[in-house]
Symmetry: D2
Subunit: 140 residues, 4 copies
């Protein structure tokens, strides 16, 4: 399986399709069935005490799964999440970016299934893990 | 089981603890083991095409579960989501508020488990469903 | 939406397609988008202490979701579970049958989504809850 | 983190505590925060067509998570699954054993969180993936 889109192509696609989202994220790495995406943590992602909010971590795992799917199938604006199961395990450190590492476990014609581990940049402990299913629209 | 906090008390608590979040939501109803919470949809929640984003729906189910838990145990700022499994089933209508209807299925000393159905205000079809587990901190 | 198969039709279908499974279960009720299925608890379902095992409860929610799907679309032997998220909340009572109450939240052309509550027969507390997604094979 | 129980110790413990289950499974490998468990597929695990049933795969991921938890904390008969989210992705091959590879992502005082990949013995494609949470009883 060859990678169809590298980080530069994915970031350009995100800016075109989802400008308000693209400003918060950066695809940093793609590899066969894998991608790393960074959440650039700012004030809007924080909860009192400085920790990153649950919805912000959800947004990261959702985007990381989207990125790895597009990396493998090419630009498809309409793929949609149908299911996500997420476990929150440790509190993120205040004011530090997050990295979501996504891997695809199945890339079918209509469904893609994968999981994502979330860590603080440069730190080993897993803060959250998620599994996601994406519905891929029929290709013309 | 008696309700410890009514919608007014919950909304006041949210404004005090999570002001940036409280502006987006309103607790509309509490009942034993139940609560309804509204997401006041604005530009920030939308995706191209006018549909409400996945992270915004996640934020709604997370807050609805938090609201029903607080309604039953009283104000506890530190309860945290440990797990959420969410299914996205139908696209929300553009520019219409969402209602999350939460019910608690178990309220233990350390864990609360419940589920949430998400609909457009005044419409019957379920757009998303989620089940969530909350860890309740030990009471002093 | 009309019910296509009543409990008698569903039980007969199960006996024909899955005889080893059918002996353990009984569909007791169907209604539009709903079904009740009983697990007839025997030695094989128990763990030390007399409680029903997790895999037995999984088997019940899986079958209840299958039953409610078939009830609405008619006999399709090949529908398969693609995802199940299950929360175990309370221990079942020793030596008492279980009832799984399934409801369909979405019945699309290729995917069905629903949830199931598990209780001891005649008792109110919810022992487990599950949400499931089924892939429906294309109809010829 | 040191491994407290090796495969021999885990298999002996299972035979003592859950004899009816132990006959179906074999712990094959333990490593820090990891374990491999084999499901010895027999007639009772099959569905028509020869594929392994969903409940049998659930039983495998549940036991693999239990094994990796015990491997790290030592013999605790009472740990219970509180949540499992499982994705079924590919059909198992007829009449071939399954291997569940579990890794612990968090081992707290009261909760353990991990995930499991299921494959046919000696084959690479992932048939199912699951994430599980275990409640660990307070130690005396």
């Amino acid at each position: 399986m060859t990678v169809q889109m590298d980080p530069a192509a994915l970031n350009a696609f995100m800016w075109e399709e989802f400008p308000q989202v693209a400003a918060q994220f950066e695809v940093e790495r793609t590899a066969p069935m894998e991608a790393d995406v960074r959440l650039k943590v700012t004030e809007q992602h924080l909860r009192p005490g400085g920790t990153v909010s649950g919805p912000s971590m959800f947004a990261l795992v959702d985007l990381a799964m989207y990125a790895v799917t597009l990396a493998m199938i090419g630009p498809v604006a309409l793929a949609v999440t149908t299911n996500c199961s997420i476990d929150f395990m440790r509190k993120p450190e205040a004011g530090r970016d997050l990295i979501g590492t996504a891997r695809l476990l199945k890339l079918g014609k209509t469904l893609a299934v994968g999981d994502v581990l979330v860590r603080n940049v440069g730190a080993d402990p897993v803060l959250a893990r998620a599994s996601l299913t994406y519905a891929i629209p029929p290709r013309r």
